[in-house]
Amino acid sequence: MFADFSRDIAKLRELTDEQLMLRVQQGHGASFDVLVERYKDRLFNYLYRLVGDRDEAEEIEQEAFVKAYIHAGKYKTIAKFSTWLYTIATNLVRNRMRSRSRAPQLFPLWSRGHDGEEEKPIDIVDPDRSPEEKINDSELREIINEGIRRIPDKYRMSFVLREVDHLSYEEIAAVTGLKLGTVRSRINRARNCFRKTLAPLIEKGIDF
């Protein structure tokens, strides 16, 4: 029985996202499990880069999968499943950002990263550190998080979708609902902002 189950799962793993979604629409729960396994890390990475908090990213991800499951009937195979899923997750993040902008004092992390913010040098790494001393993974993680967090909210989404999830410009436009030109300019602005945050470390020649 267990062998049969494993064989079924292996067969399901060979199917495309869209084929799996069609099966989910017919009430096949195991197909959705395969989709969750396929996307849970990617989606979490995206959400974590956006919100900068593990618990919150996980909460949003869970909500996104639940929404995808409940509204599976609304999914049309003309769109890529990944785009659809990212759109759901992005809208959830947007809703949270909106509610947080109404109560910024409760979420100080989110209130930063606006346009016109004075660029401050990143202070994660010890200034007395010698350039030869290599930065470890957790330090790199913090540097990256800080760099992303300092990108203004409206540029951050497109930037993460492009540089973290490697989505095409067309896909980003579909997920964010922006025009292609707007996506392009926002990504370039975000890249420049990210560069400015990391520039002091790069200039120092610290080995990553």
Binding site: K40, F44, N45, E58, Y69, G147, R195, I202
Partner: protein
């Protein structure tokens, strides 16, 4: 090449532009412009760091928690559907009850209106042979009956045909209960007074029309004959007098 164009081109190369001519032009510019060169280096290095950063993963029990949540959602959706169905059923019952109640109210209202219509014609349902309308005529209590006209004769005079054995009000409308070819339509018939007049009454025309519509031909003939008889009786009984000469 200007710095602005060079930076624009730089972003395009980051997005995978493959154009050897443009690449050469950009490299030449970067060789001449140190600001653009620094920018290009920082940009490439920062993005490289981002791509090298370890991928963040959800907690190990994420799938398990998600499955629990999905199950909860599934159960709550099912419960919601069941409650919706139950509500619909109860709503249907309520709807049916309300419809029956409304129908009953309409029937009752119709009956009351119908009774009120008969009352306004001066027709009273009496148990005996005493005709209340005759009393009304005598006393002038009923406005629909001309009290100034002389009222003589018994209630039998109102019978167009045959003896009176039925209800008083039936006789008042010019019908006999006995010998009539069917009594079913008697209630719908209008009143013809013994002086031959038909009291003015709203709805009278429609009542007559309705009554005649429901009658058989035999019943219609019988009804009209009865009224003719009544008028003839009246003419025989009352001689027209000159009101002016009486006064003199």
């Amino acid at each position: 090449m200007r710095c602005r164009s060079a930076r624009k081109l730089l972003y395009q190369f980051l997005d995978g532009l493959e154009d050897d001519g443009k690449r050469l032009a950009l490299e030449q510019h970067l060789g001449r412009c140190s600001a653009c060169e620094t920018l290009a280096a920082q940009l490439a290095r920062s993005l490289d760091l981002l791509h090298r950063a370890p991928q963040e993963k959800p907690s190990e029990n994420f799938s398990w928690k998600l499955r629990l949540r999905l199950n909860e959602e599934r159960l709550s959706t099912e419960a919601q559907e069941v409650s919706q169905r139950a509500w619909l059923r109860s709503w249907n019952m309520r709807y049916a009850t309300s419809a029956v109640a409304a129908f009953a109210v309409i029937l009752a209202a119709g009956w009351i209106a119908y009774r009120a219509g008969i009352g306004s014609l001066g027709i009273e349902r009496t148990s005996g042979d005493t005709d209340r309308w005759s009393t009304d005529v005598a006393t002038g209590a009923n406005e629909s009956i001309p009290a100034s006209k002389p009222v003589t004769g018994s209630s039998d005079a109102l019978r167009p045909v045959g003896p009176s054995t039925g209800a008083g009000w039936q006789r008042n409308v010019g019908l006999v209960s006995e010998g009539a070819p069917g009594r079913g339509n008697a209630q719908a018939l209008p009143q013809v007074l013994d002086d031959g007049s038909i009291p003015a009454n709203r709805g009278l025309d429609s009542m007559v029309t309705r009554a005649l519509e429901t009658m058989t031909t035999e019943q219609k003939i019988w009804y009209l004959r009865g009224n003719i008889q009544l008028l003839e009786n009246h003419l025989q009984r009352y001689q027209p007098t000159e009101p002016d000469s009486n006064r003199r």
